[in-house]
C-alpha cells in the first residue's frame, strides 16, 4: 500500500467529519513508518492515536478505516476464499457441459470476459475490475443518481457487451448444451454485476460523503426554517453549529489578566519583605453572570423558528447557563422547566401543544412578562423576543418594551419575516424597533447562527 493510498484515506476521513490537519497527516505517515503497513490491526490502532482526537472521532475513524481498506485488501493480497466461489459459477455445470456436449461443449467461451469468468482466476478478475473502476473514474462519484451510470461504465470496461452477445447467440442456438452454457454465463454475469454494484456503493459512501455532506449543510443553512424539518439530521447539524460557537465563546469568566492595582493586597504582602512593596498586586476583574430572557411566539407561523432557536439555546447551555424561556400564543407562561432533563425535541413539542394557538397579542405578552419578571430586570439581563409582531390590530404597548429596555442591558428582536415585510398589514414591528438594540430577520439556520454568535459576544 503506497503512501498516496494513506493520503487518500485522510481525505476520506475528512469527508466523514473527522478533522485531520496537515500536521496530523504527517504524524500519521510517521506512525505508519514506525509500524509498517502489513499488520492491519496494529496500523489501525496506531493511526487512530494520531488521527482521531475525540471519542466520536474514534468511532468514525474505525468505520472509515474498515470500509476504506476493505477493497484494497483483496487487491493487495488476494485471498481466494468465499468471494471467488460466489463470483465464479460453480464449476460443476461447466464441467457437465464439457462432458455432455462433447465437441461443442468443451469450447472456451468466445468473449474475453466469458473466458475469464469460467477460468478460475479471481486475481486476474480483481485486477481487471480495479482497472475498469479507475477507467470509469469511480472516485469522482458525487451524487446517488450516478451509481447506475458508473456501474454500467465499469461493466462496459470489463467487456460485458461481447459477453452479452455471446449469451444471446448461445440462447438462439437451441441445443441443450448451448442453453445450459448460456444460463451459466448469465448467472456468472449477474453475480459479477452484483459485485460491481456493491463496490460502486461503497465507493459512493466513501467519496461522495464529503461532497454530499457539504452540499447538505449548505442547503440546510439556507433553506427556510419552515421546511427544515424535511431534513432528518437537522438536529445533528444544529448541534454541530452550536458546538462550534461553544468552543469559540467558551466560558471565560476571568477577563483581562489584570485589573487596577490592589493596594490592600500589595501592602499586605509587602510585610513579607519588611515593608518593601516588592510585588505589585492587581485586582482581578470578574465578569458578572449575564441573564437571558427568551420570549417565543409559538403560534403556527413562528413555531419552526422558535423550535430551532430553543434547540440552539439548549445546546449552548454550557456557555449560557442562566436562560429563562417564556412561550406565548394562546396564553403566556414560563417554560424553562420543560427542558429540565428532557430531550429538547420532546420539550419543544410539549410547549407547542400547551401554548400553541393563534391570535397572538404582543401587547398582552409584554404586560404579562413585565408583571412576571419586571421586578428583577437589571443591567445584567438580555431580552430576546422571537415573533412576527403581527398583533391582530390590538394595542402594541411599545412603551412597555421601551421601559424594560431602559432597565435591561439590551433587547434583541428576531423576526421570521423578511425585513421588507415588517410593518405591512397588521405588523407592528416598526413600533418596537426603537427599543431594540438590534432586530434581525431569522429565516434560516445561517441567520440564526449569526444571531447566536452575536448574542454570545454581547452577553459577556
Amino acid at each position: 500500500m503506497p503512501v498516496s493510498r494513506l493520503v487518500e484515506f485522510m481525505t476520506v476521513l475528512r469527508g466523514a467529519g473527522v478533522p485531520v490537519s496537515t500536521a496530523e497527516t504527517l504524524d500519521a505517515l510517521a506512525v505508519a513508518e514506525q509500524l509498517g503497513l502489513e499488520d492491519r490491526a496494529r496500523l489501525k490502532a496506531g493511526l487512530s492515536l494520531a488521527l482521531a482526537k475525540t471519542g466520536e472521532d474514534k468511532a468514525r475513524f474505525s468505520e472509515c478505516f474498515d470500509r476504506f481498506f476493505h477493497f484494497s485488501r483483496s487487491t493487495v493480497a488476494p485471498v481466494p476464499g468465499e468471494e471467488d466461489e460466489s463470483l465464479n459459477p460453480p464449476p460443476s455445470p461447466g464441467g457437465e457441459a464439457a462432458g455432455e456436449g462433447g465437441g461443442s461443449g468443451g469450447q472456451q467461451p468466445a468473449s474475453a470476459l466469458g473466458r475469464m469468468l469460467v477460468a478460475d482466476e479471481p486475481e486476474e478478475l480483481e485486477r481487471r475490475m480495479a482497472r475498469a473502476m479507475d477507467d470509469a473514474g469511480l472516485r469522482g462519484i458525487r451524487v446517488i443518481t450516478q451509481k447506475g451510470l458508473y456501474a454500467r461504465r465499469i461493466m462496459q470496461g470489463l467487456g460485458v457487451e461481447d459477453l452479452d452477445g455471446e449469451i444471446l447467440s448461445l440462447e438462439r442456438d437451441a441445443r441443450p448444451a448451448s442453453v445450459r452454457r448460456a444460463r451459466m454465463l448469465r448467472e456468472a454475469r449477474d453475480a459479477l454485476r452484483a459485485r460491481v454494484i456493491e463496490e460502486v456503493n461503497r465507493q459512493f459512501l466513501l467519496h461522495a460523503r464529503s461532497y454530499g455532506q457539504e452540499l447538505r449543510e449548505q442547503a440546510m443553512r439556507n433553506v427556510s426554517l419552515r421546511h427544515l424539518h424535511e431534513f432528518d439530521d437537522v438536529r445533528a447539524q444544529v448541534e454541530r453549529m452550536a458546538r462550534r460557537l461553544r468552543i469559540l465563546h467558551s466560558r471565560r469568566t476571568r477577563s483581562a489578566r489584570r485589573g487596577p492595582p490592589d493596594l490592600r493586597r500589595t501592602i499586605g504582602e509587602s510585610i513579607r519583605y519588611g515593608g518593601v512593596p516588592l510585588a505589585l498586586r492587581h485586582r482581578r476583574r470578574r465578569r458578572g453572570k449575564s441573564r437571558v430572557y427568551v420570549v417565543c411566539d409559538v403560534s403556527r407561523s413562528v413555531a419552526p423558528a422558535a423550535r430551532f432557536l430553543l434547540l440552539f439555546l439548549q445546546a449552548l447551555h454550557e456557555v449560557l447557563p442562566d436562560v429563562r424561556i417564556f412561550a406565548f400564543a394562546s396564553r403566556f407562561g414560563e417554560v424553562t422547566d420543560y427542558f429540565r432533563g428532557e430531550d429538547p425535541d420532546r420539550a419543544v413539542a410539549r410547549i407547542m401543544t400547551n401554548f400553541g394557538g393563534s391570535g397572538t397579542d404582543y401587547g398582552a405578552m409584554l404586560e404579562d412578562f413585565s408583571a412576571l419578571c419586571g421586578g428583577e430586570l437589571d443591567r445584567r439581563g438580555t431580552l430576546i423576543v422571537l415573533g412576527d409582531a403581527r398583533n391582530n390590530e390590538l394595542p402594541a404597548r411599545q412603551e412597555l418594551l421601551r421601559e424594560m429596555a431602559a432597565r435591561l442591558r439590551q433587547v434583541y428582536w428576531l423576526n421570521p419575516e423578511a425585513t421588507n415585510r415588517w410593518g405591512s398589514g397588521d405588523s407592528v414591528m416598526p413600533l418596537y424597533l426603537p427599543a431594540c438594540r438590534r432586530a434581525m430577520s431569522c429565516r434560516n439556520l445561517a441567520q440564526l447562527e449569526r444571531f447566536v454568535d452575536e448574542l454570545l459576544s454581547a452577553t459577556r
Binding site: 478533522p19 500536521a23 496530523e24 482526537k53 468552543i247 519583605y273
Partner: protein, 305 residues
C-alpha cells in the same frame, strides 16, 4: 531513560512488570510516543488509570517523573518558573556594605549606574531562578516523563501557553530568552473532559482513549494489584462490578474503586460475595447516596445473575 524500545509487546510486558496491565492500544500509545517524541493526551472516565499510566511508564522507562497538577488559576509562575524574591532581597541586604564599597569612588549618579551595569544582571540570573515543573522537565539531564495532570482544569490561557512546549519542547522566558529542552521529555496530559480542550492542543498530541476495562482485562488487573485474592472471589467481584457499570448510575465504579474493594474484601477474609458483606462494603464502590440506594434495592438480583 531506556534508550530503545523495539515493539509494543515489549512495552506491554514492561508496564505489566510495573503492575500496570493494559490493552495493546495503551502500549501502542506509549511505544509511539517514545519513538516519535510526541505528547500523549489521555482521556477517559475518572479512575481508569490515566495518571497511573504516566507513573508506570516512568518506572518502566527508568525516567524521573515530573508532575504538574493543573487547577483553575494556574499560571506560568507556578508551572514554569519564579524569581526567588526572598533570596534576592536577602542578598541585597547582606551585600549592602559590599555594594557601598564598590560604589565608593563614584561621585555622580551616572558613574554609579555605570558601575552597577558593569556588574551584570546579578539578581536576575540562574541563581535566583526557581524552576517549576515545566522548567525542571526541560532542564533535566536525562529525559524525564512529564505528567500534566487534569489539563482540562486549567484555564484556556494556560492551555495556549502549553502549545509552545508541546510542539517544540522549548519555552520563552522574557529575562533569559528561549529555553530549549536538554533532552526531550515524554509528555503525558490527562483530561476528564470537564471542559472541551481546544483543537490546537489535540492536534499536537497523540490521543489515547482509555475506556472501562472489559471483564477479562479487569480480572488481570485485580490479579496483578491484589494478588492475595482468591480466584473464585476475584471472578465474582469483577462480574459484579461489570454489572454495576451497566446500571444507570451517577458515577460508575472505576478500576481504582474495584481495587479498593478487592483489598478490603481480602482484609475482611471474605471467601465469596455474600449479600450482607456487599451491602456493608458497597460504599467503597459507589460514592453517591442516590447510587447506593439504587444498587441496594436491586442487590439480590444483581448478585444472583
Amino acid at each position: 531513560m531506556k534508550s530503545r524500545i523495539h515493539s509494543t509487546e515489549e512495552v506491554s510486558e514492561g508496564l505489566a512488570g510495573q503492575g500496570y496491565i493494559c490493552d495493546p492500544e495503551v502500549a501502542m500509545a506509549v511505544f509511539l510516543a517514545a519513538r516519535l517524541r510526541k505528547p500523549v493526551l489521555v482521556e477517559g472516565p475518572p479512575g481508569v488509570g490515566k495518571t497511573e499510566l504516566a507513573r508506570a511508564a516512568s518506572a518502566y522507562l527508568q525516567a524521573p517523573l515530573i508532575r504538574l497538577q493543573c487547577y483553575e488559576g494556574l499560571d506560568e509562575a507556578r508551572a514554569l518558573y519564579e524569581w526567588k524574591y526572598g533570596k534576592q532581597l536577602l542578598y541585597t541586604q547582606l551585600l549592602r556594605e559590599k555594594l557601598g564599597d564598590l560604589l565608593a569612588g563614584a561621585d555622580t549618579l551616572d558613574a554609579c549606574m555605570d558601575r552597577l551595569a558593569g556588574m551584570g544582571d546579578a539578581f536576575y540570573s540562574e541563581t535566583f531562578l526557581e524552576p517549576r515543573p515545566l522548567l525542571q522537565a526541560l532542564r533535566s539531564d536525562e529525559p524525564p516523563v512529564l505528567l500534566i495532570d487534569e489539563v482540562d482544569k486549567a484555564d484556556q490561557e494556560f492551555e495556549a501557553f502549553l502549545l509552545e512546549l508541546l510542539a517544540d519542547y522549548h519555552i520563552s522566558i522574557p529575562e533569559l530568552g528561549t529555553v530549549g529542552a536538554k533532552t526531550e521529555p515524554l509528555v503525558f496530559l490527562t483530561s476528564n473532559n470537564s471542559r472541551e480542550l481546544s483543537d490546537a492542543l489535540r492536534r499536537r498530541c497523540l490521543h489515547l482513549w482509555i475506556p472501562f476495562p472489559d471483564s477479562d482485562l479487569e480480572q488481570r488487573i485485580v490479579a496483578a494489584r491484589v494478588p492475595e485474592i482468591s480466584d473464585a472471589l476475584r471472578g465474582q467481584l469483577v462480574a459484579f462490578v461489570q454489572r454495576l457499570r451497566e446500571l444507570e448510575l451517577k458515577k460508575q465504579p472505576a478500576i481504582s474503586e474495584t481495587l479498593d474493594w478487592a483489598r478490603s474484601l481480602v482484609l475482611l477474609h471474605a471467601r465469596e460475595l455474600e449479600p450482607e458483606l456487599v451491602r456493608s462494603t458497597l460504599s467503597l464502590l459507589l460514592k453517591y447516596e442516590q447510587d447506593l440506594a439504587t444498587v441496594r434495592n436491586g442487590l439480590s438480583r444483581l448478585l444472583r445473575e
